[in-house]
């Protein structure tokens, strides 16, 4: 049998939510998924036995080349502060700044994976004045070059693989790791921000159950309304790269299905939109952020046309918290066949 694919998972300046999310994986569950794909989790902060010295000696063994590391998974931002010392995160029991430990391990790992938007781009931890001087592994917000140089690539000849998302969908993570283990992930499978195209070639808008409201510009005005959330509620689903409404979360969910805006959490810099997350900024009544690939003039023309043609059913339901007017049933009396 082929040797197992060794992965090591470490957390730094984040919330641990991507680990919690990966435990939501179903059919198979996360542990079965690892086993079925012959992936050996050398250590994970939430479910490995080894603690303290046992863990620190594993790190040493990887650093000294005695244990092969196929993929290093980092979750959470890299904490460079204060004043570039990395003291905002000292790896417990070691006295070493986490950024030094991580940088050393990236030299040993065949592939390095950023799990979540924090490790990829800096994410939420970078918001406001960025008190921790946080950054991603290879990106600081939208800019390449962070803890690792923008031209850096691992011994497996890939840059940091940015499985962005806040949190990540369990299957974005499990499938990417499995692809790597199979030797099936190539640089052409990554997008401009080095995110796996398996989910970023899609838009959150795809599969949105509110699409009919979108088509007719029948818009929600406040939380729990049924209409499209793009015009007023800050929804970025038409611009956000992810497959949330075709893959679905926790069985049958997604942000839009949960009745709230997509905040584009797979994007670099999503944490500072420059306005309130749940309010659409507009100029002269037209939302600033238009759907990806759509010329502005066309959008304006189509929108006004669509608004003029909005059926009464959608107009009423859009600002209601449940369906008040159901779709018409065709009857013999209508004289239609």
């Amino acid at each position: 049998m082929k040797e197992a694919f060794n992965i090591l998972w470490l957390q730094s300046g984040g919330c641990g939510g991507c680990s919690m999310s990966v435990l939501n994986a179903e059919q198979p569950d996360f542990f079965n998924m690892l086993q079925l794909n012959n992936i050996n989790m050398l250590w994970h902060p939430s479910f490995s036995e080894a603690s303290g010295e046992e863990f620190l000696s594993l790190i040493k063994s990887i650093e000294e080349g005695d244990t092969r590391l196929d993929a290093l998974c980092i979750e959470g931002s890299l904490m460079r502060g204060p004043n570039g010392t990395g003291h905002f995160h000292i790896l417990a029991g070691s006295g070493r700044p986490m950024i030094d430990v991580v940088e050393g391990l990236t030299k040993k790992a065949k592939y390095t994976i950023a799990v979540g938007s924090c490790a990829a781009f800096g994410g939420i931890t970078m918001s406001g004045p960025n008190p921790g001087d946080a950054c991603g592994l290879q990106y600081e917000g939208k800019y390449a070059g962070a803890l690792l140089d923008k031209n850096w690539s691992s011994s497996g000849e890939l840059p940091v693989i940015n499985i962005a998302g806040c949190p990540t969908h369990p299957n974005w993570v499990t499938e990417t790791i499995a692809q790597l283990a199979m030797g099936d992930l190539h640089s052409s499978d990554l997008d401009t921000y080095n995110r796996p195209r398996s989910y970023t070639d899609h838009l959150v808008h795809h599969g949105c159950p509110r699409n009919e409201y979108y088509e007719y510009k029948a818009s929600a005005e406040q939380a729990s309304d049924q209409g499209c959330m793009m015009e007023n509620m800050g929804c970025l689903g038409t611009q956000a790269h992810a497959d949330c409404n075709t893959r679905l979360w926790n069985g049958e969910g997604s942000c839009l299905r949960g009745g709230y805006a997509c905040i584009n959490c797979t994007a670099a810099g999503f944490e500072e939109p420059g306005h309130s997350f749940t309010q659409t900024p507009k100029i002269a009544g037209i939302p600033i952020g238009l759907p990806t690939d759509m010329p502005k003039a066309w959008f304006v023309a189509l929108s006004s046309l669509a608004k003029a043609a909005t059926p009464k059913r959608l107009k009423i339901n859009a600002t209601s918290d449940h369906i008040r007017v159901p779709p018409n049933q065709k009857t013999e009396k209508d004289g239609q066949s």
Partner: protein
């Protein structure tokens, strides 16, 4: 003293907790005489929130923590609701309680099966009579129990898929209710999801009806129950606890705090209060945070969180943690399931604590008891949901206001305090459950709850982190990412 051998050990990292944790202990003749608990990560959410639109706290604060994300959402929504002077509509309250309970119970389950029990499957226990069975069921990653628990947990969290879009990090919970009205058939799906989780608990964890477990009212009754249900994972734990005398380690201040859990119609399912020999009313004005032993700056004296300041300072000699020291009326309190049930007066927990105090065994029992107590209430909440009625009330956040959101997360009392000025957040302070339990010393040099719990523990000469220390630490189900937000 000089005849005794005194050594200082630095222990960490401790995994199977959320986030990074380091503990220093001073050991004399194999006994811990002093402990220092260090949270070695700083992120600075208070600074991040300063100057933001108050409503955006609903985006930022859940991301403090990936394991108690909904708890942060609920605390933020309540703080905003208080500043707006509104109360959520009945459907909104029920839906919020259901989402929060789903997270809290999933956390209790994750803690027991994935974080806590695997320590008993360590080789150091290989001589124990219960080892083979425990190893087969609870060994980290490969144990059979996890293969049952992960699918059950994931299915149970489908409840959040329906009511909150996803877990973790939802925006469904709002000051006036929730964003996701449900239809009648979705109510059926919610009920089915909860009942399927009940079946799992009744088959695997308890081998008994939840109501039977919930009605246990004394240590004696528990003893009899344990003998009658040997195939349950709960009894497996109780047997190990007896053998290792887990009721004799990990005692702390035995002063318990609860903000009150799961509000409907202005009443809590589990009451708020303080318990020390008897129940007392909680006065939130008595909560202060002290930074005398933290690597923080600017704030000179203990302050109420409305006026607290969280600015990183020098890594100096007096400080040893990024965590502050919260105190209630200048006293150390313990929070968590055991505190909730002590304050609320559950007979079994009151009896256990009166016999042996809060300790490793009793903390675990309180958590598992909550699984039995809350799932039946979730079924009632789901039945009370009224499709076609409103789920969310709407109101504007005033330009100048303040509000507190004080709730119970799985790990205990969680508070958000916000002051709003000119329509922006002027100050936002958070005290998380583990901030209480894992706080460093205060200005009077009083150790925090875990520091107390570790004192006087016999750990022997083992240079590695003694497994006893690990049981004590994990009995609190610590969440370090919350602690040091």
């Amino acid at each position: 003293m000089s005849s005794k051998s005194s050594t200082r050990r630095i222990l960490g990292p401790f995994n199977r907790v959320e986030g990074d944790l380091e503990v220093q202990v001073e050991v004399e003749d194999g006994v811990i005489v002093k402990a220092w608990v260090n949270s070695p990560l700083f992120r600075g959410f208070e600074q991040i929130l300063h100057g933001k639109d108050p409503i955006d706290a609903l985006v930022y604060t859940p991301r403090i923590c990936g394991i108690c994300s909904v708890s942060q959402s609920v605390a933020a929504a309540q703080a905003l609701a208080a500043s707006m002077d509104i109360t959520p509509c009945p459907n909104g309250e029920l839906a919020t309680n259901l989402i929060l309970a789903a997270e809290n119970l999933a956390d209790h389950l994750t803690h027991f099966y994935l974080f806590f029990m695997p320590d008993f499957a360590r080789e150091s226990y290989s001589k124990k009579a219960w080892f083979n069975d425990t190893h087969e069921r609870f060994k980290a990653q490969t144990g059979k129990a996890a293969r049952q628990v992960l699918p059950a947990r994931a299915s149970f969290l489908h409840l959040t898929g329906i009511l909150a879009g996803k877990w973790p990090h939802s925006l469904a919970i709002q000051p006036g209710g929730t964003t996701r009205p449900i239809e009648a058939q979705e109510k059926v799906r919610l009920l089915t999801t909860i009942s399927a989780f009940r079946l799992f608990l009744e088959e695997v964890l308890f081998d008994d009806k939840l109501e039977q477990v919930a009605s246990l009212s004394s240590e004696n009754e528990l003893k009899i129950w344990q003998e009658q249900h040997p195939d349950s994972d709960f009894a497996r734990f109780l047997n190990i606890a007896d053998d290792l005398k887990l009721s004799e380690i990990g005692g702390a201040s035995d002063r318990f705090l609860s903000y009150g859990a799961y509000k409907t119609n202005n009443e809590h399912l589990f009451n708020s209060g303080v318990w020390q020999q008897h129940t007392q009313t909680l006065n939130p004005d008595e909560i202060t945070e002290d930074i005398s032993h933290s690597w923080l700056n600017v704030q000179n004296e203990p302050k109420h969180p409305y006026f607290g300041i969280t600015i990183p300072g020098e890594l100096n000699n007096t400080g040893y943690s990024w965590c502050k020291s919260p105190r209630l009326n200048n006293q150390v309190v313990e929070v968590g399931a055991i505190s909730r049930q002590m304050v609320d007066g559950h007979k079994l927990i009151r009896d256990l604590v009166s016999n042996s105090g809060a300790n490793v065994r009793n903390r675990i029992i309180a958590r598992l008891l909550e699984l039995a107590l809350v799932v039946p209430v979730m079924e009632e909440w789901a039945k009370k949901l009224q499709p076609k009625e409103v789920f969310c009330l709407h109101s504007k956040i005033p330009d100048e206001a303040q509000g507190a959101g004080m709730i119970e997360a799985a790990r205990g009392s969680l508070g958000h305090w916000v002051r709003i000025k000119n329509g922006r957040i002027l100050n936002y302070q958070i005290i998380a459950p583990t901030t209480w339990n894992f706080s460093p010393r205060d200005a009077d040099d009083k150790p925090g709850a875990l520091e107390l719990a570790l004192q006087n523990t016999y750990v022997g000469e083992d240079k590695n982190a003694s497994v006893i220390i690990q049981h004590i630490i994990r009995s609190f189900d610590p969440c370090m990412v919350c602690t040091v937000h």
